[in-house]
């Protein structure tokens, strides 16, 4: 092995690959990757619900941000008014639960605006999404300035799987990945599977795919296109809301201006990467955010050998750029994947086209 590592360049790459596998399997970063991927996967689920019905939604970013704020403030208010013991399970409190519910409601509320603008008003859907992003950013920054919270309702706690399971050789890291996480992460996995199955096996799924591909055909067999589009966009809002709640109530326990930092857009790219399927989008989310987690891993457990010396050297000489590189990796990957995958990955045919019943003459 060491012999292989000595080959110039290639050896370097080998060292890095071995390090990667090692850090994912033994470095306990698998749950971190899943956590980072969760808001992306939820955002992508929101995107799937919208775009499978023929509605382009680039306002997911804003929906997440607004929901994140609402989740945080609701939880804080409930926490201050009704302080309660933390439950053993996930460290739940009424405050946190109310926060999540409020976030989902906020997601649905903004979805309603998007649905109304894109379906009823038939405004341009990308403009509508952008407006949601701008308004959400403005409104949350405004409110955050107006009411400066110094307190917090805290966060959900991760589940602690039995050490015996986590330390199982070979699969232990996988078990850890899916169990040593908080409630929103866990439910995300369940949602991904449920939506995937329903989309391709249920009546709702068939009709949803139909209105996204050829709404007129669906209309002629008696499906209410407008109503189903509304319903799906609103349901999608729940996922965006949950993504927001994850950011403030599970990941950080605080709210910062523009804390979504483009996650809504990465979610869209994950959705495109996953060819508008929930499972595929989930895979995309893991890929994009995995790259960021590697940065975390390298900071926690720097690789040894030449690789370590090399990385350490760069970090010494260019500390700021070194850090920013790992922060920026998901954005870079998003662009690369998008450039490589579009055209091969075909969106629903009626995506972005408002539906209007014709009155023929």
């Amino acid at each position: 092995m060491d012999l292989l590592f000595d080959i110039p360049v290639l050896g370097f790459i080998l060292q890095f690959l071995v390090y990667l596998v090692n850090v994912i399997v033994n470095g306990h970063i698998a749950p971190i990757i899943l956590g980072l991927a969760t808001p992306i996967a939820l955002g992508a689920l929101c995107g799937v619900m919208n775009e499978r019905s023929g509605i382009v939604n680039i306002g997911i970013e804003g929906m997440m941000l607004f929901s994140a704020y609402i989740a945080f403030m609701t939880a804080l208010l409930v926490h201050q008014s009704f302080p309660a013991e933390r439950s053993v399970l996930f460290g739940m409190t009424p405050a946190l639960i109310m926060g999540v519910i409020a976030a989902m409601a906020a997601g649905v509320l903004i979805s309603l605006l998007h649905a109304w603008l894109s379906i009823s008003v038939r405004a341009d859907q990308i403009i509508s999404g952008t407006i949601i992003n701008i308004t959400a950013l403005g409104l949350t920054s405004y409110l955050n300035r107006l009411i400066k919270p110094f307190d917090s309702a805290g966060t959900f706690k991760s589940f602690q799987p039995p050490a015996a399971l986590v330390n199982l050789p070979g699969v232990g890291w996988l078990i850890e990945m899916f169990t040593a996480v908080g409630p929103i992460v866990m439910s995300t996995i369940i949602f991904v599977i449920i939506v995937q199955v329903l989309l391709f096996r249920s009546r709702w799924g068939l009709r949803t795919r139909a209105i996204g591909e050829h709404p007129k055909a669906a209309d002629t067999v008696g499906i209410n296109v407008i109503q189903l589009r509304y319903r799906n966009v609103l349901l999608g809002g729940i996922f965006a809301g949950l993504a927001g709640a994850y950011l403030t109530l599970e990941a950080t326990g605080s709210f910062q201006n523009n804390m979504t930092a483009g996650r809504g857009f990465i979610a869209l790219a994950a959705m495109i990467f996953g060819r508008w399927t929930p499972l595929g989008a989930f895979g995309g989310a893991l890929l994009f955010m995995g790259s960021q987690a590697i940065g975390v891993a390298i900071r926690l457990a720097p690789p040894a050998g030449d690789l370590g010396t090399f990385l350490g050297g760069i970090q010494q000489a260019y500390p700021s750029m070194y850090n920013n590189f790992f922060t920026g990796l998901p954005y870079l990957l998003t662009i690369i994947v998008l450039a490589g995958v579009v055209g091969r990955s075909v969106p629903p045919a009626a995506d972005g086209r408002p539906y209007e019943k014709e009155s023929s003459t």
């Binding site: 407006i131 998003t334 969106p347």
Partner: protein
């Protein structure tokens, strides 16, 4: 002339009404903020106090007016950066990143030519900013034209990447010694100094010239005709022998150059590039372009309006204790009413309107490869 809708009045009415409605919504918001803010009292007149101080801050005296113009200057440019793109069916929401690129490049050039005469140093730095901004626009334009990656996603990603790259470079490579925070060296003679006692500077001229120039380009030239044709119907443009891909790249680069110039002006006003350079002019450009209906003249007026809000907001925050962020909220609400044009028309019983031009193309090209 040709493709412009017949009545100017018809174009102005909806934006004006949207602004009016947004101010009404803000009225309520300000009352609410009085309730939950530091004062915690119910005051029906508070919004009027706020609006008055906003007006005074922007128009109250010569200083206010000059502040307004200086605030509006980069907005005209970022407004064009978005608006000209819209005409070509491209939605450039990456003005933020292009501004940073432009500002950073201007700073590098400015530091290099700091000791030459201002007549050389200032244009050289501005040009550097334009070129760098153009490059930042070229990338998403190229990606859209040749891979189909939609600019709405790629420009947002680039915004983040450029911000990370530039701040990293300033911190690690171009950091000037002797300052408590990371920044580049001073730009010396490339700095845009205020004229006399005002904040007015030479950059205003450069920006103002871009307005008629864009107008001429879009409506009076064959290139502009091609830009608009590609925006309105890319397949028909291809059929007519135009080169939609080339036009997309050209337009995005041009948009980037406008934004780059805006960034250069802002940084040259400052005289150096700070590693943490937060500015809203990129996103404000979206509002300016949509409010100005992608028309250069309209963009000029909406930039002045938004500039007035930005210039007046600090006084409002002091006098009425309404956070300056209210301007962002007002912008958002204006945009919602603009998008819901039909609804605004219904509220005020107006007739329905002209076509949308390049807007449809933006959504249609989403997730698809571009022709030609």
């Amino acid at each position: 002339m040709m493709s412009r809708p017949r009545s100017y009045l018809g174009r102005v009415v909806v934006p004006a009404l949207s602004i009016l409605l947004a101010l009404l919504v803000a009225y309520v918001l300000i009352i609410v903020s009085g309730l939950i803010g530091t004062e915690k009292k119910f005051d029906l007149l508070l919004p009027l106090v706020a609006y008055r101080s906003l007006l005074v801050g922007a128009f109250g005296n010569f200083k206010g007016i000059s502040n307004m113009i200086v605030a509006a200057t980069p907005l005209m440019l970022t407004g064009l950066a978005v608006g000209v793109g819209l005409k070509a069916g491209l939605f450039n929401i990456g003005a933020t990143g292009q501004v940073l690129m432009g500002g950073f490049a201007a700073a590098l050039v400015g530091v290099a030519v700091a000791d030459t005469s201002p007549t050389f140093a200032i244009p050289a730095a501005l040009l550097g900013g334009m070129l760098a901004g153009g490059l930042a626009g070229f990338i998403p334009g190229f990606l859209k034209a040749y891979t189909g990656a939609h600019e709405v996603v790629t420009t947002i990603m680039l915004n983040a990447l450029i911000q990370l790259a530039v701040s990293g470079l300033v911190n690690d490579v171009f950091r000037a010694p002797g300052f408590s925070f990371a920044r580049t060296s001073s730009m010396g003679n490339a700095t845009l100094e205020g004229l006399g006692a005002t904040t007015l500077h030479l950059g205003v001229l450069f920006a103002v010239v871009c307005i008629p120039l864009s107008y001429w380009l879009l409506w009076r030239t064959t290139v502009g005709f091609e830009i608009r044709a590609v925006g309105a119907n890319p397949t028909a443009a291809l059929y007519a022998g135009m080169k939609p891909r080339r036009m997309m790249i050209l337009t995005m680069s041009l948009c980037g150059a406008f934004a780059g110039l805006a960034g250069a002006i802002e940084i040259q006003r400052l005289g150096y590039y700070p590693a943490v350079f937060g500015t809203s002019i990129g996103f404000d450009g979206i509002t300016v372009a949509l409010l100005g209906q992608s028309n250069p003249i309209g963009i000029m007026f909406s930039a002045l309006l938004l500039g007035a809000m930005r210039a007046g907001a600090p006084l409002m925050q002091i006098q009425a204790r309404v956070p300056v962020e209210i301007i962002d909220v007002i912008q958002g609400v204006i945009l919602i009413f603009l998008a819901a044009e039909i609804v605004v028309r219904r509220i005020f019983r107006l007739r329905t309107p002209a076509d949308t031009g390049g807007l449809q193309t933006i959504t249609r090209t989403y997730g698809e490869k571009v022709v030609g």
